[in-house]
Every structure is written in structure tokens, then in C-alpha cells.
């Protein structure tokens, strides 16, 4: 009998536990707390009804320690300084570094968007603001603030590149600027023409052939894969800039320009070999630094990693004077904040795009700042460590044609499809025409 009683009590406890756990997240409100919460929702107070300071949470991906990636430490310092400046204000600014990096920031935002909300504020660090957030009006339009505060030049490329139907939902404090880096000593030793002389992609292909023919044993001409999508992207920009910067359509997919760009890059990749193709350019960094990869397609920000190599690493842009510059997604604010929170979030955008912070981003983070008023050459003149970065930024910023990244214009799934087809073409003997036909069919279906 005793056992039975214990069993009954246990079963009831389990059931009660499950039912309690399944209960709604909201707690039963007493009339007093209900009144307080109603008051709080009616007036966008700077403090909660209980007198607590409001909090503005800011998610970012700069979690790395000094040994892993020093720029992350600098970015955290910049954020913390802003938090300290507003420590006594009505809203507490709370920067939160996610140890999954910007991928995790995107993941958290995507999850919240799926539930109909958006985090207080995030830094997408180059990832596009999800279309769902815009279509559901979950993110704040900053254009009015930028105009009224005269920040157009401070946000730089963001003002045009991130303007959608007259609204600006995101401001990226660093631009995604892409040319590439090459081993000038190896080019000279092999007798290859240098990128500054390339007028066409055929010139580049010829230089790669020379590098393969005359280069050192075991070394290779360039890093294909993720690099190849950049070649394709800039070649499309060279052939037809409108195609490279507008939404993907069946006309673009079946255009002569698309076919030419794909087949040219695919042929170059096949000559380069599938052993030197990867969908992550980071895989080639060690090889480039060791002098085994002669051409490395990475952004201007890679300058910091190339200061201690045993050869002259020079920046370059793509044949025909084309570069890739993209504002991308950056600081993005929820549309559901209180007035005080929104004011602080906007203040933070102003702070991050200020001349002072942008100079630090260039000098210490070694990235291309968005602020068009910052004189990079003047800053570099006093600081030899950023000379290569300044040169890379100047080259990319002054290119005859500047295109956006493929994923920002055509979407991540389209970019993956093109990269995969280019990588498949790098295998010896692959029929490039057949792969082009497959890709065209795939992309036509994907945009459907």
C-alpha cells in the first residue's frame, strides 16, 4: 500500500511538472503588475515601471581573444567605450559578443524574425539583412535620422547601396571591399604580367598559364572556388554592370554575357586544377603566406595578415579595372524599441560612423571604413603598418567599375550554385558547356 501511495504521488508530481512546464511563458499578473505593464506600454518611458534602467542589447560577432584576432578586441573596446559614455543615461547599452561570430548573430536574428520579432540591435558584419525582416517591417528605417543629422558622407556607400525603396535599414561601419593579393616576387621570377597591366580576363589567364609553366614545383597560380565567384562576378560587371547589380532574371541567366563569364572563369579554373579549389578562401591563406599560392582572392582586410611574409605581397583589382565593394548588412535596429532605446541605437550608429571611430577601424581593425570623409592616405602616411591596406582600399575605391558581391544581389543559394558549378568545372576533362547548361537550368528553377 505504501509503495502504491508513493507511486501515485510520483505520477501526480510528474504530471504536474509536465503541465507546469507546458504552461505559457507569461506569468499570471496581479492587478498591480498588470497596471504597471499597461502604463509601461502606453508611454514609451525611458525607465520601466519598477524604476529599472532600460537595456539596449547589441549582438555582435567580435568574440575573439587577442591571440586569435586582435581587431576583435579593438571592436569590443570601441563598443565598451560607447557603453561607458552612456552608463548613467536612461538606457543601458549592453554589447554582447556571440562566440559563434557573425554567423550566430544572423542565426539569432533569423530565429527571432521567424517568431515575428527582431533583436534590439545587431551587427550583421556583411551578411544581408534578411528580406523577411524588411517585408515584415521589423527593422527600423534610419534614413530620416541620417538625413536630419547630415550623416550621408559618414555612412558613405551605405547611403546608396543599402537604400531600399527610399529606406535605409542597415549601416555597415566597414565596407566589404574585394580585390585580391599577389606574390609580386613570384610573378617577376616567372615572367608573368602583373595585374595592373591586365585589360581583359584573357590577359589574366595568360599570366596564370605563365605562372604554372615557370613557377616553383608544387606552387599554384591562384586560389579557385570562392575566388572564382569573384572572378565571375567582376567579369559580369565588366561585360554588363547592370546585370551584375540587379536581381537575377531568366534574361540574365541566358545572356551571352553570363555564358561568356562562366565559360572563361571555368576554363581558367580547369587549367588551375581542382586540387586548388575550395569554397573558402581562408583555406589558401597559409599557402599564400608560405609562397605556394601566387594569387589569393581575399579582401583588403587581409593586409594585416601579410605584413610578415618573405615576399612582396601586393594588392590588385580585377582585369579591366573592376573591384567589388559592398556595404552589406551591418548595424541594424529593431523597429519595436521604445523611443529612448531607439534614440540610443541611432546615437550608436552616429558614433560608429564618426571620423574618430572610423579612423580607429582603419588603423587598428585594419578594415575599409565606410566614412567617405576619412582620408585614408593621410592616416597611412603616419602609420606604415597600414600602407598596404591604404593602397588596397585606394585601388578598389578608384576602380572604373565597382560591383556588389553576388550573394548580396542574387542571394546566397544562387551564389552557392555558381560556386559549386565552377568548382565542378575545375576537375580535369569536365565538359564546361554541359555544366553551363546545367547551371542555367538550376538557376532558372531557383529563381522560380
Amino acid at each position: 500500500m505504501k509503495k502504491k501511495v508513493i507511486s501515485m504521488v510520483l505520477a501526480m508530481a510528474m504530471t504536474a511538472g509536465v503541465l507546469a512546464g507546458c504552461g505559457g511563458g507569461t506569468t499570471a499578473e496581479t492587478p498591480a503588475t498588470q497596471e504597471a505593464s499597461e502604463a509601461a506600454s502606453e508611454t514609451p518611458a525611458t525607465e520601466t515601471a519598477s524604476g529599472e534602467q532600460e537595456v539596449l542589447e547589441f549582438y555582435h560577432g567580435y568574440f575573439h581573444d587577442e591571440a586569435t584576432w586582435y581587431p576583435a578586441v579593438v571592436m569590443r573596446e570601441i563598443y565598451q567605450e560607447f557603453a561607458d559614455q552612456h552608463a548613467d543615461g536612461p538606457v543601458k547599452f549592453e554589447p554582447i559578443a556571440l562566440d559563434g561570430g557573425s554567423d550566430q548573430v544572423l542565426q539569432i536574428a533569423t530565429n527571432e524574425i521567424a517568431g515575428g520579432s527582431f533583436p534590439d540591435m545587431v551587427d550583421f558584419a556583411g551578411y544581408q539583412v534578411p528580406l523577411a525582416a524588411v517585408s515584415q517591417e521589423l527593422v527600423y528605417d534610419m534614413k530620416g535620422y541620417i538625413d536630419s543629422e547630415g550623416l550621408e558622407s559618414k555612412v558613405g556607400l551605405n547611403y546608396t547601396a543599402n537604400q531600399v525603396d527610399g529606406k535605409i535599414y542597415t549601416v555597415h561601419d566597414q565596407l566589404t571591399t574585394l580585390g585580391f593579393w599577389y606574390n609580386a616576387d613570384a610573378y617577376a621570377a616567372a615572367g608573368a604580367t602583373t595585374p595592373d597591366t591586365w585589360k581583359t580576363f584573357d590577359d589574366m589567364a595568360a599570366a596564370m598559364d605563365t605562372l604554372r609553366a615557370n613557377g616553383a614545383e608544387g606552387a599554384y597560380a591562384y586560389s579557385a572556388g570562392q575566388g572564382s565567384i569573384r572572378l565571375f562576378n567582376t567579369y559580369m560587371g565588366l561585360l554588363n554592370k547592370d546585370y551584375a547589380s540587379s536581381a537575377l532574371t531568366a534574361d540574365i541567366i541566358n545572356s551571352e554575357e553570363f555564358a561568356t563569364a562562366f565559360k572563361t572563369v571555368a576554363a581558367m579554373d580547369q587549367a588551375n586544377g581542382s586540387a586548388n579549389a575550395s569554397d573558402n578562401v581562408g583555406d589558401f591563406q597559409a599557402d599564400f603566406q608560405a609562397g605556394n599560392c601566387y594569387t589569393w582572392f581575399n579582401g583588403v582586410w587581409a593586409a594585416g595578415a601579410l605584413t610578415e611574409v618573405d615576399f612582396e605581397a601586393k594588392p590588385a583589382i580585377f582585369p579591366g579595372s573592376v573591384s567589388i565593394a559592398n556595404a552589406g548588412g551591418g548595424l541594424t535596429i529593431s523597429a519595436g524599441l521604445s523611443e529612448a532605446q531607439t534614440a540610443l541605437a541611432l546615437e550608436f550608429v552616429k558614433y560608429m560612423t564618426s571620423d574618430e571611430v572610423q579612423s580607429r577601424i582603419f588603423l587598428e581593425v585594419q578594415a575599409n571604413p565606410c566614412n567617405a570623409d576619412v582620408d585614408l592616405n593621410a592616416l597611412a602616411a603616419d602609420n606604415a603598418s597600414v600602407a598596404a591596406l591604404a593602397e588596397a582600399c585606394a585601388l578598389a575605391n578608384s576602380a572604373s567599375t565597382i560591383v556588389s558581391t553576388t550573394d548580396s544581389v542574387w542571394g546566397g543559394d544562387v551564389q552557392t550554385a555558381i560556386i559549386n558549378k565552377l568548382i565542378e568545372c575545375s576537375v580535369e576533362g569536365t565538359d564546361i558547356d554541359a555544366k553551363l547548361a546545367e547551371l542555367q537550368a538550376e538557376l532558372t528553377a531557383l529563381i522560380g
Binding site: Q128, S135, A275, N276, T416, I423, E442
Partner: protein, 302 residues
């Protein structure tokens, strides 16, 4: 309260937690996946899936079956990986379990060594194999080049070869299921082996006629696990090839549609999810049928 009523209440109370958990965490998501596969649900209406009208009910299925370029490739691969799991992983697991059950010298050490990879995540395994297969410095490439020096391509990009490269990245790691079988083998009464010995069941006959029939229920479980893990393969594909060169899997394309696509195509992803559920259930049904007593007797001609 009479005994019968008390007993019924008692049973119901014990069942409620499991039922609630099942309904919340299994039944509800499955129903939602199936229902939303008949809806328009993407970035334009993320909080408000719209049910297609009667005339357009199968819009998503039509798109997936006739237009989406990766569905048939992914389905074929996933089914092949499920089959490979059954044909390679199950016999291998059984063999390992039988060998370990012999209590040979160092068998405890061997058992522990065999289990260690099972505690490593498949994502980490994917990364490890990515290094092993690296076309420039990976040991596998170097071994291949010993026999075929002119081969310089990446095996992860050569269609057909890359399928097996992915298989080898997961198929040998079955420590957990081997332990399940080992436990069952240890549970077999020694008298049965003694009796078998008298009847001449020695060597492989002993395992064939005594061990395997007695652990058949566990073999069925192991087969189901091997088939479903092969059918649901994701991490290995993502890390090794990112779906290139004909290696997409069903799980991979679900993520492509739901996450990678900037249009957040939840409904289409759930349509593939619904197909995955149905095929997964079919796999379980087929395995159950194959292992049923009736079908075994039929095959034996009894």
C-alpha cells in the same frame, strides 16, 4: 474507489507526461510540417502562412517534384546512403560485436578504441575527413598518387568517387550500436552454446545458428538506426563538399531552402521535410517487414 478505477487512473497519470511530450515535441511539429507544406510560407508572410486554395493545394509539391533542381539528386543520394548504411554498417557492427564478445586479449582496449569516434560529433568528423581528403597535402591523396601518379584532382570533386568519400566519413563509426549488440550477445545463456556444440555448431556455425538469431531484434534496431542516419546525412555533406558535384542530400536541401535562400522558403523546405518523413516511415516499415518472423519463414520456405 474500486480497484479497477484506481488502476485506470494510475495508468493514465503515468501516461500523461509521455503523451504530452510526444504530442508537443513529435506530433505537433510533424503535423505542422505537413500542414505548412500546403501553404505559401516564405519571407513575404513569415508570421502568417497562407493555405493554398483547393485548386493550388499541391503547388509546393509540384515545384519540388518538377522544378526544384536538386530534389531528385538529393533523394537518390539519401536513399543510397541509407542502403549503404544497411549493407555495410550493419554487418560490420555485427562482426565487431561478435569479435569483441569473444573476450580475446586486449578486447576491452579494442572496444574502447572503437567507441572513441562515437563521442566525436559528425561535424568534427567531417572536418577531420576534409583534411584527410585534402588534395594538396591529405594522406589519402598521397596514397592514391602512389598507385596513380597522374591523378591530381580533388577526390571530393570527382563525381561518383565523392559519394564513397562521404560514405567512408561515417560508415565505420558505429561504436554505439556495436555496444548495443555486444550487450545482447553477452546476455545469451552459455547453455545454448553448450547445446549447440553437441549438435556440431562450432566456429562460424555457432554465430550463424545461435548468436545471430538470438540478437535479431537488436539487429533490427541497429538496421533501422543505420538506415535512418544514412538517409538523414547532413554534416558530412556540408563540410566535405557543400553539396557540389552531385552530393546533395535531403537534409542539405532542406537547409538550402529554409536558411541559405535569401527568400526563406519555409513551406518548400517543409514540403521536402514531409517527403522525408514519409520515406523515413517507409524505410522503417520495410525493415520491420524484412525482419518479421513471417517473412523469414517464407524466405526459408517453411
Amino acid at each position: 474507489m474500486n480497484k479497477k478505477v484506481a488502476r485506470t487512473i494510475f495508468i493514465i497519470l503515468f501516461l500523461i507526461p509521455s503523451c504530452v511530450c510526444f504530442l508537443m515535441f513529435y506530433a505537433y511539429p510533424i503535423v505542422q510540417i505537413i500542414v505548412t507544406s500546403f501553404c505559401k510560407w516564405d519571407y513575404t508572410n513569415l508570421n502568417n502562412p497562407q493555405f493554398y486554395g483547393p485548386g493550388e493545394l499541391l503547388t509546393n509539391y509540384q515545384y519540388i517534384f518538377t522544378q526544384y533542381p536538386y530534389f531528385w539528386e538529393a533523394l537518390k543520394n539519401s536513399l543510397c546512403w541509407a542502403l549503404v548504411g544497411v549493407c555495410i554498417q550493419v554487418p560490420l557492427t555485427l562482426l565487431v560485436a561478435i569479435v569483441l564478445s569473444k573476450g580475446l586479449k586486449f578486447s576491452k582496449f579494442a572496444r574502447n578504441v572503437y567507441i572513441v569516434p562515437s563521442v566525436i560529433s559528425s561535424a568534427a568528423m567531417g572536418l577531420i575527413f576534409l583534411q584527410l581528403y585534402n588534395a594538396r597535402y591529405g594522406p589519402i591523396q598521397q596514397i592514391i598518387q602512389k598507385f596513380k601518379p597522374e591523378f591530381t584532382d580533388s577526390i571530393l570533386l570527382v563525381e561518383g568517387v565523392n559519394f564513397w568519400a562521404i560514405v567512408f566519413a561515417y560508415v565505420f563509426f558505429c561504436g554505439t550500436t556495436a555496444i548495443m549488440l555486444l550487450g545482447q550477445i553477452h546476455g545469451i545463456a552459455p547453455e545454448l552454446y553448450e547445446a549447440g556444440k553437441i549438435d556440431g555448431a562450432k566456429g562460424w556455425r555457432r554465430e550463424w545458428y545461435i548468436t545471430i538469431p538470438l540478437v535479431k531484434p537488436t539487429i533490427k534496431t541497429v538496421t533501422t538506426l543505420a538506415a535512418t542516419s544514412g538517409f538523414l546525412l547532413y554534416n558530412e555533406v556540408f563540410f566535405l563538399t557543400n553539396g557540389a558535384a552531385g552530393t546533395k542530400s535531403i537534409s542539405y536541401i532542406i537547409r538550402e531552402l529554409a536558411i541559405t535562400s535569401s527568400r526563406t522558403q519555409y513551406a518548400r523546405a517543409n514540403t521536402i521535410g514531409a517527403v522525408q518523413i514519409v520515406i523515413g516511415l517507409l524505410l522503417v516499415v520495410v525493415i520491420n517487414a524484412v525482419f518479421s518472423e513471417r517473412s523469414i519463414k517464407k524466405r526459408r520456405g517453411e
